[in-house]
């Protein structure tokens, strides 16, 4: 059978952002794939060197429009380490609450997109409608529903009041009930047919290719940077969600379980959150180098920071989760994936291209 090269993307209905895969196909089956990136590169690592320390917090948040809070979280953690300061305990809990609300809204967004990709239009709108409740409470706390700007060097910029804490509890109760409909969809024949056994990534392939986040955890690899215990995670009950089905369905199951886990983490953080300051002031300037790793919704986020004792950093390197998950996707596609399943397989890693290219 002669091989044909088909280009998938950069513009495709299933991609909210541009990326291209050059697919080698034999008949209906993909036997090789090559990623083509660079359509939305913005030179952000260079901009980190040119901006001052505080401005970089807002720059970090703009690397990704969905998981912005883990980006600023990683950045401020790195700067704090280089300055030799630590956020107050209450600020650490607020960071965890914002991170977990971010994970919840991101996973709900993904479930909506999955519904859209396989033709479940009303389900897509239903999930995004539930998500609005969460976005509303985020807006009440942060003043903004998309880019929160909660993190600051040495702590957070805004506190969570008792009244807001009660509202968060109410939203968590609502979402817990609402997620039952997502569980129902996971038992649906069509969804199972479109995702089970599709886009297989074995445990050894996930390790070799450096998969992260739900993509790795659905392949029985328990990588989750929350286990490092940054911010207040070390004080909370946490165990990574792991599934051994190694397919697109498993990635959906991991995200569904993680949403329930996030609700529990938020409740626990609210109940344990101590009273006190929310920021540690310091005039120190960062010197030396450090690596910070945190866990946004899509997987491990890596920041390398090098300071030279001035208000500008010498070097900032950012590796986002989707960057790490591109090669595992190539592996999934190249094993004889049916051409019609390519959109679902690519969607199963929850790709975010703008943050991948920075």
């Amino acid at each position: 059978m002669a091989k044909t090269v088909l280009t998938f993307g950069p513009q495709h209905v299933v991609f909210p952002e541009p990326i291209q895969f050059k697919l080698k196909v034999e008949d209906e089956f993909v036997v090789g794939a090559e990623p083509v990136i660079g359509y939305v590169h913005r030179g952000i690592e260079k901009a980190f060197e040119l901006n001052e320390l505080k401005k970089n917090i807002f720059l970090a948040e703009r690397i990704c429009g969905i998981c912005q809070t883990p980006h600023s979280n990683a950045y401020v953690l790195g700067v704090e380490r280089l300055m030799g300061i630590e956020a107050p305990p209450r600020a650490k809990y607020i960071r965890v609450i914002m991170n977990e609300m971010n994970r919840l809204h991101s996973h709900m967004l993904w479930f909506g997109l999955l519904g859209d990709a396989i033709g479940f239009e009303s389900y897509f709108m239903q999930v995004w409608n539930y998500r609005e409740k969460l976005m509303d409470i985020i807006e009440k706390i942060a003043g903004n529903r998309v880019t929160y700007s909660m993190n600051a060097i040495g702590g957070v910029r805004r506190d969570i009041s008792d009244e807001q804490a009660k509202e968060i509890h109410n939203v968590m109760d609502f979402l817990e009930e609402a997620f039952k409909s997502i569980e129902d969809v996971l038992k649906d024949y069509t969804l199972i047919k479109r995702t089970k056994g599709i886009g297989v990534l074995t445990e050894s392939e996930a390790k070799r290719d450096g998969a992260v986040g739900p993509t790795a955890r659905a392949s029985n690899v328990p990588y989750d940077m929350r286990m490092l215990g940054y911010d207040a995670y070390r004080d909370l009950e946490f165990k990574p969600v792991v599934v051994d089905s190694c397919d697109s369905y498993g990635r959906a199951v991991v995200r569904w379980k993680e949403m329930l886990q996030s609700i529990n983490l938020i409740r626990e953080a609210l109940s344990k959150m101590p009273v006190g300051d929310i920021i540690t002031k310091s005039n120190a300037l960062p010197k030396g180098e450090t690596v910070i790793r945190v866990e946004p919704p899509r997987g491990e986020l890596f920041y390398y920071l090098k300071g030279n004792g001035t208000k500008n950093l010498e070097r900032v390197k950012v590796r986002t989760p989707t960057f790490a998950n591109i090669w595992p996707t190539i592996t999934m596609l190249s094993k004889g994936c049916e051409f019609a399943n390519v959109p679902v397989v690519v969607l199963s890693i929850d790709p975010c291209i703008s943050c991948t290219e920075r």
């Binding site: 070799r208 890596f302 390197k317 590796r319």
Partner: protein
């Protein structure tokens, strides 16, 4: 940083293979401009422990690619070639930057066109 190991271009692949043999995960490589030299730090995760291999080399010196051991490294090596104009065997320009983009934008003391 903690857990740093200095390597040379001669023993780089041998050291990287040791991580592959124990199923450590290749996290990413970071390139830093040290002025007269470039430094690539290869970061590996071994059961949540981050280990860094540091390789310093002259900017015009060719170094081996680790993509033969960790295929996923090809992407970041392509990015390093684009951003720093490093010479990595078998890796060309064009991963993230278009042909008419500024050359080596993350190099210090070099005019960016």
């Amino acid at each position: 940083m903690e857990n740093d190991i200095n390597v040379t271009k001669e023993n780089l692949l041998q050291e990287v293979q040791k991580f592959r043999d124990k199923e450590a995960r290749f996290v990413i490589a970071t390139c830093v401009d040290l002025g007269d030299k470039l430094e690539i730090i290869y970061h590996f995760d071994d059961n949540l422990k981050l280990i860094n291999l540091r390789l310093q080399f002259a900017p015009d010196e060719e170094i081996p690619s680790i993509a033969s051991i960790y295929p996923s490294a090809a992407l970041i090596e392509g990015e390093i070639v684009d951003f720093f104009d490093a010479k990595i065997a078998g890796i060309g320009h064009g991963t993230l930057l278009a042909p008419d983009s500024p050359k080596a934008p993350l190099r210090k003391k070099k005019e960016v066109k």
